[in-house]
Every structure is written in C-alpha cells, then in structure tokens.
Subunit: 225 residues, 2 copies
DNA sequence: GCTTTCATATTGTCCTACATTATTGTACTA
DNA sequence: TAGTACAATAATGTAGGACAATATGAAAGC
C-alpha cells in the first residue's frame, strides 16, 4: 500500500525477519555484510542500512567493529520482553474489545483464533506456520485496537526469538495455548475489555512464572556464560 | 560506557535527538542528506544509516524517494503514544518501587524529582532544560525498574515531539506537574508499587483526556489539513 | 601450556558515478 | 487568466572501488 518494497534495503530487512520465523536464520548466527550482499544481490550500502534498522528493531546485535549477529536473548532479557509484551497486549486487547463492533472485526478475530487453535496442541512448538499464526493472532489484536503506535512498541520479534531459544521452558505453558487464546478472543469478541485484559494477564502469567522460576534457579546455580 | 561514540553515524544519531530537545530541530523540518553530511562533516553513507535508525526510533519520517523530515505527529498518533507511554511507565513505576531498596535508588529518584519540581510551574513549557529534566525523571524510573527492554519500547522521543507540537493542549495538565510527579516519586520511594501505578495513571489520565477531547472536537469540526 | 606477534578478514568510512524519481519553474494553450 | 504539459533541477537509492582501523585466529616463541 504505502511503498514499493522491491528495494534491496526493504527486501533484506523483511526477508531477514521472515527467515527468522522460517528458521533460516537462528539466534546467535553471525551475519557478514559481504555474505548478505551476495545473498541479496545488493551492495554493502543497503545491507548496512537494513542492519541498522534491524538493530533498532531488536532483531540484530550490532557490535562496533564486529558486525552483526541475530540477537540472542538472555533469560532476563526474555523475561523483560515478556513483561512489556503483557502490558502492551493488554492495551491492545482492551481497545480491540472496544472496537469490536466495527467492520469485520469479529470475523477477523475469529479467523485469527481459528488459525492458532486449528492445530494440534502437540505440534512442533517451533513450527514456522504456528509461529506465523501466533504472530497473526497478536497482529490482529493490535490492528483491531487501532493504535497506530502499538506495532512500533510491541516486541513481537523478541517474543519469537525467545520462543525459539527457550522452547523447552515454554512448552509447559503452551499446553494452555488453545484455552488461553480462546478466552482472549472470546472476551474481545464479546466487547468486554476488562475480561480481555484479564485473559491476557492469565496467559502471560503462566509464561512469566516459568521464566521467573528458571531465572531464580539459574541464579542459585551460579551464572552460566 | 559501552562504545566510542565518536563515529559519524553515532554522532548524527545522537545529536539529532539532542537537537530536538534543544529546539535546533523542529517537527516537520526537512532533512536532506547533503546538508546533514556537510553539517557533521561526514559522507552520505553514515548519514543514511543514522536516518534509518532514527526512523526506526520514530524520530524521523522516511518517505521513499523523498527523504527525511522530523516526524510530525497527528493528534491521533499522539494520543496513541500517550496510551502506550502510560502502560509502559506504569510497568516502570511498579518495578522501580519493587527495587527501591537497592543501592542509591531512593537518592536517584529524589534527585530526578527535584530536578523536575525545582522549577517554576509557569516555566516555558518547552524549555529545553525542563524537557531534559522530564526525560530524566522517566529515565530514572525506567532505570530503577531494571527492565532492559523498557528503553527500547518506551516512546520517549514521541512524547517529546507531541509536547512540542501540542504545547497549548498540554499546558493545562502541566499545572499539575509538580503534584503528579511528586506523588509518583513518593510512591516509588515508599516501595508501594500499586500506589506508584495509580499515580502514573492519574497523571497520564489528565493529558490523555485533553487529547481525547481535542480529537473529538476536531472530528466534529471536520478534519483540518 | 601460555603469551606474543603477525596475517587475514571485516567493518566503518569516504569517494565517485549514475539511474530513478519528486519538485519546481516555464511555456504553451484554451 | 487559469490550467496543463513539459523540461530543468535537485535529491534519493544504489553500485562499486578504495583504504584505514580493528577484531579474529593462527603461528611462533618462551
């Protein structure tokens, strides 16, 4: 809608994120400018611009004179991101519920929910399609909230990164996925902002507790490099 | 602390934000690469990289084939930013209160408060020093919260931008500045997370109400270009 | 085994060049 | 005079080459 996205800079920026969701790029992976330039048939200029934007988005770690690697979150950073995500998704859900009478809001919410729960709970937790469906669920919530700034603040990519890195920790909470998401969606669809917020809180609390516990345990064991 | 910041890219990035706070750059202002390059004695490469990062931070609007200008927020975008800021500052305040026993936390909070309230309430609302003091107050809150991701998500620059643009609207709420900030700081210092959150909510509610009203009024009048 | 030194690779920046595109001013027409 | 077509100008987006500064890893020396 807004812009032609054929430009190298855009392509690289988008494909790196898509590639992250598809598993073509993994946390910690080193990215050299030359390699990216050759991969995307671009020169170093656009590559560097894309990397700068990716760093600002929190996708990439840019160390001076060392270059870029896909960001690798610590447990603490992950927990911090989850806390922020809870706050922002709460806002999204509350306003989405407020706007649920508009247009095809209910339909979109229902579709997004079906996309997430229309999968076996025992699916591979890092299945790219599930990741996309999850992202789309939160994306729908954000879109329905009609807050133009939520997308910028929401740490969606970080959440994806931490899911990839700490799949083991999250697995337990993922068993509630269907139930949690359904409750959120139903609250939104019924226009009940308070219930929507509560449902979001219930969902995130599970995950946050797992990370808090893990962090305490790690702290007791001593820090691992 | 972390990096030499003498590099052109860093200098440009930082100085543009500083210049925004000092009034050297104003919302809507056009920025051409050549002009920036000559101003900072750099070539176009680093300038473009800085601009890309500034766009990701929401400081600059980058239109394809048209270049950059300092972002100009609409009333709606401003309101959206305020809503997000309320959510994130609430989180910051709650956790800051939790951590208030640590180190020099109380001292830092007190100092930040003094810096804001140690000024006449009738100060020029856009006084650069006041703007910095305000930013420092929220910065302290964020720092004390010890959430490593809050800084990334917090729309601090946007808040500054909207303050500059809509100084008139905000003026009324600014009369409560001393009282509001004092309540937030006292709640944090006393370690009462709930009270801190409530104080933050009280403060933002004033501003948000002004913008909501203004937006409704503008909607009634018909849109103004 | 540990440290030092050196070779290599990569980044950060500069420069030039040029196609593409937006903007602007001008001339022409009705 | 108003409005449109068009050309001149300016700025962006990208390519490609060059080089200093620096990190990384390997070889050499103790």
């Amino acid at each position: 809608m807004t812009a032609r996205t054929n430009s190298p800079r855009e392509s690289i920026f988008r494909d790196l994120i898509v590639g992250l969701y598809e598993g073509r790029y993994a946390p910690g992976q080193r990215l050299t400018e030359a390699q990216l330039a050759s991969t995307y048939n671009a020169s170093r200029g656009p590559v560097r611009e894309a990397l700068n934007r990716l760093e600002a988005a929190g996708v990439v770690d840019l160390t001076l004179q060392r270059g870029a690697c896909i960001r690798k979150l610590s447990l603490k950073e992950s927990l911090d991101s989850l806390i922020i995500a809870e706050g922002l998704v709460s806002i999204a859900a509350r306003f989405a519920a407020q706007n649920v009478e508009k247009d095809g809001a209910r339909e979109r919410m229902t579709a997004a929910l079906d996309d997430v729960v229309g999968r076996d709970p025992s699916d591979a937790p890092n299945d790219p399609n599930l990741a996309r469906a999850r992202d789309s669920f939160y994306g729908t919530l954000t879109a329905l909230s009609e807050n133009s700034q939520l997308g910028r603040a929401m740490p969606s990519v970080q959440i994806h990164l931490l899911r990839v890195q700490f799949a083991k920790i999250i697995r337990e909470a993922d068993l509630w996925r269907h139930e949690d998401y359904r409750k959120i969606a139903e609250a939104v669809i019924s226009g009940d902002g308070d219930a929507a917020e509560a449902a979001v809180h219930a969902h995130f609390s599970r995950v946050i507790k797992l990370f808090t516990d893990q962090l305490a345990e790690q702290g007791a064991d001593g820090v691992v490099a």
